[in-house]
Symmetry: C3
Subunit: 263 residues, 3 copies
């Protein structure tokens, strides 16, 4: 199962919000099982039931944590149904959550040691509800992991897990066509065009929503206030923003809108 | 006063939001008095001045914390007026906040050892403002509790505290009538009909907003995408949701709407 | 550089929101460098790019933390451009963030020991992005500070830093004229009129949005439900609220609106 030593750090990435106390319950369950666990809120504000947004949030945050961190991610529209609760051990982390693709993006940056289907009731909360596995399954599993329980004690190894449906970039001799996959807190438009793909196009024009952006800049202030700017974002993806403004509002852009890079 | 040994864990449940720094001030005051305190945010997003929402948030989260946890709850529209600042010691926890019913729901699950009216200025912040007792009274009291100061050193014992005005379920031979008391982050409608009351009605029909739900299901995915579903929620209350959707929006439902269970 | 001993407490005040994982990345970077750091979220909900709001949030929260706390504040619309990344050591704290005035208000309550322009790449993240210095510069600098690295090892001393553009109060024989600088989570209107200025006007009338408030009260419940009330807020500034209501909505007030105190 690999020699990964797990730390006391347990991160949480959910779409629970905080107002209902659901996220608070998850933290209580962990503290009750391991009072020494160090719980870190990555986010409880992932848009409700949006697995891709959860995967993107995790991609932005999880890789910066120390080796041995336990990452719990719960965006779980299929809770209580046929989707499996899983644990993924990688070379660096333990990931705990539903088998619905939420770990897909972060797994591209890491190497999987094993997948476990969580089936051992001994490490769940006493009575498991049908609608809140974050509290009743994922929180206790994470807490017991942080106490040193080995991954294979939580269930049975499985060969593979479900993939996220993720939009792909298309390339031709003349252009790369991607799309907006996320709009961030500042209204910046994050595309699925990677740093690697961009390298071929360094001096080229970007087209989005019938607007042409003449080149790829370094940062917002490379253009005037209120102007549109394309740049390689901090997630290593092509982004479009507005200097001192909100690109989603200015361009009336939405997730799914196309973005073209002329080669 | 009972042998409850308090832990270093102090939870916070407030309607402060975080953008103004008020919640941050509360955490600073606690850290300054007891740098070893382990502060856990349950929520700062309780709807402003909504005591019932605060009580519900606390009900969902507080019971999952280890014995000895100090729970601070501040939804406090009467701050600085005649409402008393209180401490409630139970068999499991210490609760600190305003005497306005915010602890009512969580106290139904626990046994009270004593009520204290907080009057001892020695354990308040130097100068107590008239509008921010979260920072000036409740935070320091919680911090001193976590340092081992005994509950009765904070003030005088009182016999009873104020109750929350909570809507009651009515029952007849033919039906149970409850109402929606909370709408959660997913748009699920949480009613005041308990698991205990539901047991009499297991195969019966639910009526809400002129819609009939044929039976009580186990989880969302028991119905098709977009369909309305009734189920026993994770708070042990009857809830109405929409599979992969938002019931509050679909049904145009609000807190106070009636829900009927045909017996 | 002064004998200030820094603690393990690192607070975060940002406009990142949490849904994108940016705030989570900052916490991961800190934990990776110093697993013993005690990270406290003051806020990630400062309105996007609003430096004054960030400064006000910090003013409300930072002074309540123990001596030696490291306060990181990142509202950074000029990221990657010519604005400098800085560290301010005061008698009580270390402040880390962009040189755009965000520390101005909190510095009025503290005494500066030195300003450092952060230039030493050894204490930055391996590869510094152009758009996310919170993660790549400010987080690692704070973490290394908490490990005992001395402020002057992070860069070069500078003589002064940029000031915030802050609206001033004007006074005449007949009146004081201030303005609304912040609207809080409850819809209370926070003005720039200080406690000190108010002392001259204790029994006087307040004018705002063509409404006259007859006197300065102590707290909300000094007036009837739904009525407008002026009071000295918990930030020691004149505020206008509505008892059990939302003053911003009732008065249709905005940041920048004038407030007059008749002397």
């Amino acid at each position: 199962m690999g020699p990964l030593k797990l730390s006391r750090i347990i991160t949480l990435t959910t779409d629970f919000g905080t107002k209902d106390g659901y996220a608070g319950a998850v933290k209580g369950v962990i503290s009750s099982i391991n009072p020494e666990a160090q719980i870190v809120d990555i986010s409880h504000q992932v848009p409700a039931r949006n697995i891709l947004s959860g995967a993107f949030c995790l991609l932005n945050a999880a890789p910066f944590y120390p080796q041995g961190t336990i990452h719990v991610a719960v965006v779980d529209p299929g809770v209580g149904g046929s989707r499996r609760p899983i644990l993924v051990q990688t070379k660096r982390y333990c990931l705990v959550g539903p088998d619905n693709g939420i770990f897909d993006l972060v797994l591209e940056k890491d190497k999987v040691s094993c997948f476990i289907h969580l089936t051992n009731l001994d490490h769940f909360l006493g009575r498991v509800s049908a609608t809140f596995h974050g509290r009743d399954i994922f929180a206790p599993v994470a807490a017991y992991l942080s106490l040193g329980v080995k991954p294979d004690e939580f269930g049975v190894q499985i060969k593979k897990i479900n993939k996220l449906s993720f939009p792909l970039v298309t390339k031709s001799a003349k252009k790369i066509v991607g799309e907006i996959i996320h709009i961030d807190n500042f209204g910046n438009l994050v595309s699925n065009v990677t740093w690697f793909e961009l390298k071929q196009a360094k001096e080229s024009k970007i087209k989005i929503k019938n607007r042409v952006i003449p080149k790829i800049s370094t940062t917002f202030s490379d253009v005037k206030s209120g102007e549109i700017v394309a740049y390689l974002g901090s997630s290593n993806l092509l982004e479009v923003g507005v200097n001192l403004g909100n690109a989603a509002r200015t361009l009336r852009a939405e997730v799914g809108d196309k973005i073209e890079i002329q080669l």
